[in-house]
């Protein structure tokens, strides 16, 4: 088992959003303030980890013919549990994310990992995979939120950070965030759908650039070693 490699894959080389290009609906829809991004990312992380563990536990007894149906039932079960818990204990998040919480059911990240990873690997590896992929997803959401919120409304950490009464984290979404410049001067289009498409496009392009550069470097190195 290679924990380090799994984390590297989840966060960078096989990042669910930037490299596997899945789960993009929510990535673009809800990333208008840091509170939404962190809340959505953590919800997906928890659901993904739970589903991964259950699917890898059941992998020996699930027949191939009906495995997708069973995955869907397991995923929908966990999503509903998280949905109910959020409604009861973090109503602000449940209001802000609305229909996108139940829509985690059809988020391709979860069914994709169940099919590609957990039906072939053990419980411990699947557990680590859930956390690594979930973290990778959360980080992308946070990056999107950071860019869109800063350019769109001039603040950082909206809903999550409160500096009115000293610096503290607000878990009920009431904090106003750190205002860098007045929101009237923000590029309002960044928090509209247009900004979602643009920001994600730019982030994926950046990722492709980095991956290409590192691949070229590696090739160069190998070529040199061969020459020597």
């Amino acid at each position: 088992m290679n924990i380090k490699k799994q984390f590297k894959e989840g966060l960078i080389t096989n990042n669910p959003v930037l490299v596997q290009l899945i789960g993009m609906c929510a990535t673009m829809a809800i990333t208008t303030s840091m509170f939404n991004g962190v809340g959505m990312g953590l919800s997906v992380l928890i659901i993904l980890t739970c589903c991964n563990v259950v699917v890898s536990l059941l992998r020996k007894i699930i027949p191939g013919e009906i495995r997708l149906a069973i995955f869907v039932v397991v995923i929908a079960g966990f999503v509903t549990i998280v949905d109910l818990l959020l409604q009861a204990f973090v109503p602000a998040l449940s209001d802000a994310l609305g229909v996108f919480i139940p829509l985690i059911v059809v988020n391709c990240i979860i069914i994709g990992r169940a099919e590609a990873f957990c039906s072939k690997n053990g419980v411990a590896a699947s557990f680590i995979d859930g956390i690594a992929q979930g973290l990778g997803y959360t980080l992308v959401l946070m990056a999107m939120c950071f860019i869109r919120e800063l350019l769109g409304s001039g603040s950082i950490g909206g809903g999550l950070i409160d500096i009115a009464n000293g610096f503290r984290l607000t878990l009920d979404g009431s904090g106003a965030g750190i205002q860098i410049f007045p929101s009237e001067y923000g590029i309002m289009y960044m928090i509209l759908p247009f900004g979602g498409f643009m920001t994600l496009g730019a982030l994926i392009a950046l990722m492709q650039y980095v991956l290409r550069k590192s691949a070229e470097k590696k090739e160069l190195k190998e070529a040199q070693e061969v020459n020597e």
Binding site: V99, V105, V106, L192, F197, M198, A205
Partner: protein, 193 residues
């Protein structure tokens, strides 16, 4: 009644387009839009399934509410959508093979299209009645169809465009989609009184 249906339709197709303003159904929107023909096929299949599942899920929602099991909604809807897609696939294969051969490959993809589950959840959230639900389902699908066909025709022209190498593939597609979303913003505020 007629005005409410008209305003639901107008909203679903243009103002609150499923892709450009609600971000529902982005995966197939980006995945199956390289060619206009395939985009058209996908759009039609999605419209059909969205209409059907709106109707079926309306009935199921009534049943769940009567039993006090609203919290089982998500689970019930996704199972209905999955079996509906399977049924449609089997029906087409047997009875209309010509349509099956043109739509067949997209059908399984529709289960994980969040526009389908999305329309059902929005029907419940907006407490639409049966006719409104079906209208919203079908016109939402038409909105998806309009979006994906427009987008596919833009993408067909992208191969003649010059852009930085890092933007190849998805990034440039996302940027084009962003510009289309900007154009669709022009519809916001349209209203039928």
């Amino acid at each position: 009644m007629v005005t409410s249906l008209l305003s639901i339709s107008l909203g679903a197709i243009l103002i609150n387009n499923f892709i450009f303003s609600q971000f529902l159904g982005c995966c197939p929107f980006l995945g199956v839009s390289q060619k206009v023909d395939t985009a058209l096929g996908m759009g039609l299949a999605v419209t059909f399934v969205m209409g059907m599942s709106s109707a079926l899920c309306y009935v199921v929602t009534g049943l769940l509410n009567a039993l006090g099991l609203n919290y089982m909604g998500t689970l019930a809807y996704i199972l209905i959508i999955a079996s509906l897609v399977q049924l449609v696939e089997m029906f087409l294969k047997k009875n209309i093979p010509s349509l099956y051969s043109s739509l067949g490959i997209y059908l399984p993809l529709i289960t994980t299209n969040c526009a389908v589950l999305g329309v059902v959840l929005l029907n419940v959230q907006n407490s639409y009645n049966f006719i409104e639900s079906v209208t919203y389902g079908i016109t939402g699908g038409l909105g998806f169809l309009v979006a994906i066909v427009l987008f596919a025709s833009v993408r067909e022209r992208l191969q003649f465009a010059e852009y930085p190498k890092s933007f190849e593939g998805f990034p440039i597609a996302l940027v084009s989609a962003g510009l289309l979303a900007l154009a669709f913003m022009g519809f916001s505020g349209m209203k039928i009184w």
